[in-house]
C-alpha cells in the first residue's frame, strides 16, 4: 500500500477511524475521554485559527477533563498533557477526534484486513 503525500495519509487515517466508528466531535465527548485530533475545521476561518492557536491541531493528543455544572458546558480539555483549555461545546464540535492510535495508520489498515486499495 502506498500513501505518498501527507494529505493522503491523513485522509486515509480519517477514513479508517470513521470506518471503525471511532470518531466523534470533541463536543460530544465525556470527561475522561481521550483521543487524538483527526481534523480541525470550521466554515469560520477565525474559529479554526483560534482553535489551532490554542493547540487544537491535527495529531494532538487530547483528554477531556471536566465539563461545566450547567448543561455540561463549557469543556476543559487537556492538550498534549501540557496545557488545559476551556472551550464551549459549540466550538468544540469543530474538532473531530479519533481513537488514540499509537500505531501508524498502515498498521491499523493491516489489522482491518487490508482493504483493496494499492
Amino acid at each position: 500500500m502506498k500513501l505518498s503525500s501527507e494529505s493522503e495519509r491523513q485522509a486515509f487515517q480519517l477514513g479508517c477511524a470513521v470506518g471503525l466508528g471511532f470518531t466523534q466531535p470533541l463536543g460530544q465527548m465525556r470527561p475522561g475521554g481521550m483521543g487524538r485530533i483527526l481534523a480541525v475545521s470550521g466554515s469560520d476561518r477565525d474559529i479554526e485559527r483560534g482553535l489551532l492557536e490554542m493547540g487544537f491541531v491535527e495529531g494532538a493528543r487530547i483528554e477531556v477533563l471536566h465539563h461545566g455544572w450547567l448543561r455540561r458546558d463549557p469543556l476543559a480539555v487537556r492538550i498534549n498533557q501540557t496545557m488545559t483549555v476551556a472551550l464551549r461545546r459549540c466550538e468544540a464540535n469543530a474538532v473531530l477526534v479519533g481513537p488514540l492510535l499509537d500505531q501508524e495508520p498502515e498498521a491499523l489498515a493491516v489489522r482491518l484486513g487490508e482493504p483493496a486499495l494499492s
Binding site: A11, V18, Q28, A39, V40, M54, L70, N93
Partner: protein
C-alpha cells in the same frame, strides 16, 4: 547608522519588548527586570495599558523594557493583542519599532508556546528566546538542550527563573551582547509585508515546533498532577460552584467589614479637615468651595478607596493563582444566557462595591463587544453608595416587622432592590446583545493555567497601580465635576428675603424646579428634584442634599434620623417606592460616567449609558408609582407584596416553558456547519481512496448525531 552600535549612538536608550503568551510569567519577569521603576500609561485611542520600565544592564546600558499584552499569536483577537502586534510590527503610533524582542515562553509548555516565536522569527528583528519557569520544568524532570534549541531555531536561548532576582542573569548578559553588537536595519520590509497566517500556516508552525522539540528536548517531564487534582475539586459540577459561592461570600464580607475601619478613618479625617477649615477660615466663597465642594465631593469618592483596595487584592490574588479562569469557566454557561462572557463575572462582582473598579476590571475581557456590554450594565449592580439612600427610605417607609419565619420585611425589601439590579442588568445585557451590540457571540477559548502561589511582588505592584489610577482620576475629572456641581448649587445666592433654603434659588434649584413637571408623573416633588441634582456627584450626597432642602442641620447620623421622620410625614409611600426604584437604575453618579468615557474612549457610550439608564429609571419609577397609587396607598402594600410573590412563584413554575433560547441555539445554529461531523474537512472525501464507501460512515455519524439530538431533546423537555 548601520555601522554604529545602539549603545554607542547614544541618542536614546535602547528599547526591548517582552512578548509572550498569557501565563508565561511575562509580567513576573518584567517586574523582576525593572522592579519599581515602572510606568503605566495608556496607548492612544484604546484602553490598553502601556507598561514600561527602566533597566540598567551589567555593562551599563540603559534599556527601556516594554511589557506587551500576552498573546498566543500575532493574529490579534482582542484590543490588547492588537497592541502587541502593532508594536512588534512598528505600526503603533508614537511607538518606534523595538530594538529587540524577548520572547518569553513557559518551559513546561514549550510545544504550545514556541509557535509564537516562529511567528516572530520571519520579522527579522533581533530576537531572544527566554525559557521561563525553568525551575518548575526541571522539578518535573524535564531536560532541555538549550544549545540544540538555539541551533535549531537560529536564535539565542536563555533560561530564566523570573521569580528570583538572579534568575535573569543570562538574559541581561544576552541583552548586553545584543546592544554592543552591530546594529542592523533588517526586518523593516519584513514587518511591512507581514500578513495574518492562514490556518495551514499555523499547522505548519505546529509541525516545525514538533521537529525542533524532537531535537532539543532530552527528557520530557512528567506532567504536573497537582493542578489536575485541584481542578477535580474546584471544577467539580457540585463542589465547584459551591466553593465559588463561598469565596464570593468571603470577598463580600471582607469588602464590607474589613473596609469599615479605614472608611471611618477617612470619614473622620475629612470631617476634622472640614472642622479645622471652618474654624480657621472666614466665611467666604473659597471656604464654601473647599468645604462643600472639594472635601464633601471628593471625600465622598475617596471613602471607597479601602473597599476598592480590598476588592482588588482579592481579584489580584485569584488572578495570580490561576483561579480566576476557573471562576470564568464555572460562570460561563450562566453568563452566556445573557449574551455575556464568563469573564464578565468579575467586573460585575466588583461593581457591588463600586462601579468604577468594576468598569476598570472589564479590561480583562478580550472581546470588545463583550467588554462594552459588561461596562454598560456594571452600574446596575447595587453599589455601596446606594446603601445610605436605601437605608434612609426603607427606615422611613417600610415597617420594621417580620414576615414568614423571622425574615425582616426591611431586609426583604433591601434584597429585592439588589435582585432588581441584577435581573435588570441581565435583561439589559440580553437586549443589547440582540439589538445594538449584535454580532457573533465570541468563542470562549481560554487557557486554564496551572495553579501557583500568588507572587507577592506582582500583587503589590498591581494594587499600587490601581491606587494610582484611582487617585489620578479623583484628582482630575472627579475633582472638576465636584467643583462644577458646587458652583451650580451655590450660585446665585438667595435673595435677602428668601424663605426657602438657599439651594432653592441656586442653579441646581432652578434645574430641579425645571425638572419638577417632568418628574411629577413619577411622584417626585420639587424637594426630590432638587436633591437629585447634587446627588449626581455621588449617590449618597442626595441624602445630605435632602437634609439641606428640608433645612436640617447636624452631622450625618442626626440628619438621617431627623430626615427619616420628616420624610415619613411629607411623602407618600408611593413616592418613596418610586424613588427607590429610581435609585436602582438611575445613573446618579458622574464619576461612573467619567470612567465609562475613559474605558470606552468615547463620550458616545457614556452618553448612551446615561440616556438608557435614565429611561429605565423613569419607567421603573413610573410603574412603581402608578402601581403603588392604584393599590391604594399605605394599607395595600401587603397585597402588593403578595401579588409580587404570586407572580414570582408563577414565573418559577412556568420557567421550564419559558426558554430564552435566543443565545443558546442562535449562536450554535449559525456556526452549526463548523461541526466536522456533518461536513468532513479538508476535502478529505474528494481525495479519499475509499470511494463510494465514504457515504456510509458519514451517514452513520449523522444519524448518530440525530439520535443524540433527540436524546438531549427528551432530557430537556419537561
Amino acid at each position: 547608522m548601520t555601522a554604529g552600535t545602539l549603545a554607542a549612538n547614544g541618542l536614546r536608550s535602547a528599547r526591548i519588548a517582552l512578548v509572550g503568551p498569557p501565563n508565561s510569567g511575562k509580567t513576573t519577569l518584567f517586574n523582576t527586570l525593572t522592579g519599581s521603576r515602572q510606568k503605566t500609561a495608556n496607548y492612544p485611542g484604546v484602553t490598553v495599558e502601556r507598561k514600561s520600565g527602566l533597566l540598567r544592564t551589567p555593562a551599563g546600558h540603559a534599556v527601556e523594557v516594554l511589557d506587551l499584552p500576552g498573546s498566543y499569536s500575532l493574529r490579534a483577537r482582542s484590543p490588547d493583542e492588537a497592541i502587541t502586534r502593532d508594536v512588534v510590527l512598528g505600526r503603533q503610533q508614537r511607538e518606534t519599532l523595538p530594538d529587540a524582542i524577548v520572547c518569553v515562553t513557559d518551559a513546561t509548555n514549550l510545544n504550545q508556546h514556541l509557535r509564537l516565536l516562529l511567528e516572530l522569527r520571519p520579522l527579522g528583528r533581533p530576537l531572544i528566546l527566554a525559557l521561563n519557569m525553568m525551575d518548575i520544568a526541571q522539578k518535573r524532570g524535564c531536560r532541555i538542550d538549550t544549545e540544540a534549541l538555539a541551533r535549531e531555531l537560529g536564535i539565542p536561548v536563555v533560561t530564566t527563573v523570573a521569580m528570583r532576582k538572579h534568575g535573569v542573569h543570562d538574559l541581561l548578559a544576552r541583552i548586553d551582547a545584543l546592544l554592543s553588537g552591530p546594529q542592523t536595519e533588517t526586518g523593516v520590509t519584513a514587518t511591512a509585508n507581514w500578513q495574518e497566517p492562514s490556518p495551514d500556516a499555523i499547522r505548519g508552525y505546529h509541525h516545525e515546533v514538533e521537529r525542533v522539540l524532537r531535537q532539543a528536548v532530552v527528557v520530557e517531564g512528567v506532567p504536573a498532577h497537582f493542578s489536575r487534582q485541584l481542578d477535580h475539586v474546584l471544577l467539580h459540577p457540585i463542589a465547584g460552584p459551591l466553593i465559588l459561592l463561598f469565596l464570593l461570600f468571603l470577598i463580600f464580607q471582607a469588602v464590607f467589614s474589613w473596609a469599615e475601619a479605614p472608611m471611618d478613618w477617612i470619614d473622620g479625617g475629612m470631617a476634622s479637615v472640614q472642622q479645622w477649615l471652618s474654624g480657621h477660615m472666614a466665611d467666604s466663597l473659597l471656604k464654601s468651595l473647599l468645604i462643600d465642594g472639594v472635601i464633601t465631593g471628593v471625600g465622598g469618592v475617596v471613602i471607597f478607596l479601602p473597599q476598592i483596595l480590598i476588592l482588588f487584592l482579592f481579584i489580584l490574588l485569584l488572578e495570580d493563582s490561576g483561579y480566576m479562569t476557573r471562576a470564568a469557566f464555572l460562570m460561563d454557561r450562566l453568563m452566556s444566557a445573557a449574551g455575556l462572557n464568563g469573564r464578565a463575572f468579575i467586573p460585575l462582582l466588583s461593581s457591588f462595591a463600586c462601579a468604577i473598579p468594576g468598569i476598570m476590571a472589564a479590561r480583562t475581557i478580550a472581546h470588545p463587544l463583550d467588554r462594552l456590554v459588561t461596562i454598560l450594565i456594571a452600574p446596575l449592580m447595587t453599589c455601596s453608595a446606594r446603601l445610605p439612600v436605601y437605608v434612609l427610605l426603607i427606615a422611613a417607609f417600610i415597617p420594621n416587622i417580620t414576615v414568614w419565619g423571622g425574615v425582616g420585611l426591611q431586609g426583604l425589601v433591601m434584597f429585592a432592590l439588589y435582585a432588581a439590579g441584577i435581573v435588570g442588568a441581565l435583561l439589559v445585557a440580553a437586549l443589547l446583545r440582540l439589538t445594538l451590540l449584535k454580532g457573533g457571540r465570541q468563542p470562549l477559548l481560554m487557557e486554564l493555567p496551572s495553579y501557583k502561589w500568588p507572587n507577592p511582588a506582582n500583587v503589590l505592584l498591581g494594587l499600587w497601580d490601581r491606587v494610582k489610577i484611582f487617585m489620578r482620576r479623583i484628582g482630575t475629572i472627579i475633582l472638576s465635576l465636584m467643583v462644577i456641581l458646587w458652583f451650580l448649587s451655590t450660585f446665585p445666592a438667595p435673595p435677602a428675603g428668601g424663605t426657602e433654603p438657599a439651594i432653592y434659588y441656586s442653579f441646581a434649584g432652578l434645574i430641579g424646579r425645571a425638572l419638577e413637571p417632568l418628574l411629577a408623573p413619577i411622584g417626585f416633588n420639587w424637594q426630590i428634584a432638587i436633591a437629585l441634582v447634587p446627588g449626581l456627584a455621588a449617590r449618597e450626597v442626595a441624602v445630605a442634599a435632602l437634609g439641606t432642602v428640608y433645612a436640617l442641620s447636624g452631622d450625618e447620623g442626626a440628619v438621617t434620623e431627623a430626615l427619616s421622620a420628616t420624610l415619613a410625614q411629607n411623602w407618600t409611600l408611593a413616592t418613596a417606592l418610586a424613588l427607590l426604584a429610581w435609585y436602582v437604575f438611575a445613573p446618579q453618579c458622574l464619576a461612573t460616567l467619567a470612567a465609562v468615557r475613559r474605558e470606552t474612549n468615547s463620550w458616545r457610550w457614556a452618553a448612551f449609558m446615561f440616556v438608557y439608564l435614565m429611561a429605565l429609571a423613569y419607567i421603573a419609577a413610573f410603574i412603581t408609582y402608578r402601581v403603588a397609587l392604584a393599590l391604594g396607598e399605605a394599607e395595600m402594600w401587603q397585597d402588593a407584596l403578595a401579588l409580587l410573590i404570586v407572580a414570582l412563584a408563577g414565573l418559577a413554575l412556568l420557567r421550564p416553558y419559558i426558554r430564552l433560547r435566543l443565545f443558546r441555539t442562535g449562536a450554535c445554529r449559525k456556526e452549526g456547519n463548523t461541526s466536522v461531523a456533518s461536513a468532513p474537512p479538508h476535502s478529505g472525501c474528494g481525495g479519499c481512496t475509499l470511494g463510494s464507501g465514504c457515504a456510509k460512515p458519514r451517514n452513520r455519524i449523522d444519524s448518530a448525531n440525530n439520535q443524540r439530538d433527540e436524546k438531549t431533546f427528551q432530557q430537556t423537555s419537561p
